[in-house]
Subunit: 215 residues, 2 copies
């Protein structure tokens, strides 16, 4: 079953990659408690309740206090590379699913005090120049994607909207201002990993790639 | 007074830039309620309390529900570029403070349900190749920086540790795996913007740059 952080990024990156090869991705995650299981979700609720009551709560499931806090993903860190296992999976699975071993991926996986649904800030660079309008067009009828990108009302993908949805919400689609060549786009996504992160996506992507069954 | 997101990034980037020009930065923020003022902080507390009690809370200060949620920074979005004002300030002030109008900056500013202290995932590219060890060495005695980077114990910068501190905590220092050329490093930082985001840093940076008074 593919990793949920990989899948959340790949559902919107795949239709772009098919059209204009994505050669580099830099992404940071904002991951919810639910990805770590029901006990972690309960720990977020109970530790937040304790914090608001001025009580001490000793973490049992996660390595750090979760109430109103942010911390590195709770998987083992490779002592040599400094990458956690979630990040390593994002790199490995993205290359596999996009069928492109050369794709360059930098990733930071972080837990935030959200009950359910992950977010990601994604910057990607394509082989040919790419515009905001092209990305919008490629994503507008892509499977599993819903564009939520209302600049006038400051309304973009949020975990509370993604929860319980079977689409990856994609917004803040804009030029990456750090790449003057026009090859790079930034965006912000939110997806409920309970639905999206596993089975459903495996099916959707497998349908797009019928020749490659997913383990 | 410099913008607090700019300052949080620049305190650790400045000693690197002085040694090996930083030519590109891609950063995502995890910003606390306190940066939006006392009323926003109160709104996070009260809306979280309501959420835990199963009650509806109508946001008054911030544009979106804050309890267990993540949303785009609550400043105006430029309808043309899609960047919010916080992001625009990070770009403008970083160029000014680093005295480098050519520095390429891509930035995503996001609010997370944290009471106090901002985090950032930062990837930067230098003009000459740079190693993890060099970054550690440059930051180990840099003003305003404390390295918190314990891979064995999965212990890195967190808002709860940065709160009330007058240092920017810097950790997860590692090669950016998306740049095979060895010019890029990723890191994760946390800083209390109440102390760090404004006066104190203005002073510290002004001391490093005595010829440039800060407005």
């Amino acid at each position: 079953m593919p990793n949920c952080s990989a899948i959340t990024a790949l559902v919107p990156l795949w239709p772009i990659h098919r059209n204009n090869r994505v050669r580099r991705v830099i992404l940071s995650t904002y991951q919810a408690a639910s990805g770590a299981g029901a006990a972690a979700l309960e720990e977020l609720v109970e530790s937040t309740r304790a914090s608001l009551a001025g009580q001490i709560y000793r973490p049992k499931v996660l390595p750090h206090p979760y109430a109103f806090n942010v911390f590195n993903h709770d998987t083992r860190i490779d002592p040599e590379t400094g990458y956690n296992e979630e990040e390593t999976k994002v790199i490995r699975e993205s290359r596999k699913i996009l069928e492109d071993e050369a794709i360059a991926i930098g990733v930071t996986c972080v837990r935030v005090p959200v009950l359910r649904a992950h977010c990601q800030a994604i910057t990607f660079e394509c082989e040919k120049p790419i515009s905001e309008a092209e990305v919008r067009s490629l994503l507008s009828d892509a499977p599993g994607v819903r564009i939520v990108d209302d600049r006038a009302n400051n309304y973009f993908p949020m975990p509370i909207d993604a929860s319980g949805q079977d689409h990856v919400l994609v917004g803040r689609i804009r030029r990456d201002l750090s790449d003057a060549s026009g090859h790079s786009i930034s965006m912000f996504v939110a997806a409920d990993q309970l639905l999206k992160g596993a089975a459903l996506n495996a099916i959707q992507i497998a349908e797009l790639l019928p020749e490659h069954a997913m383990a």
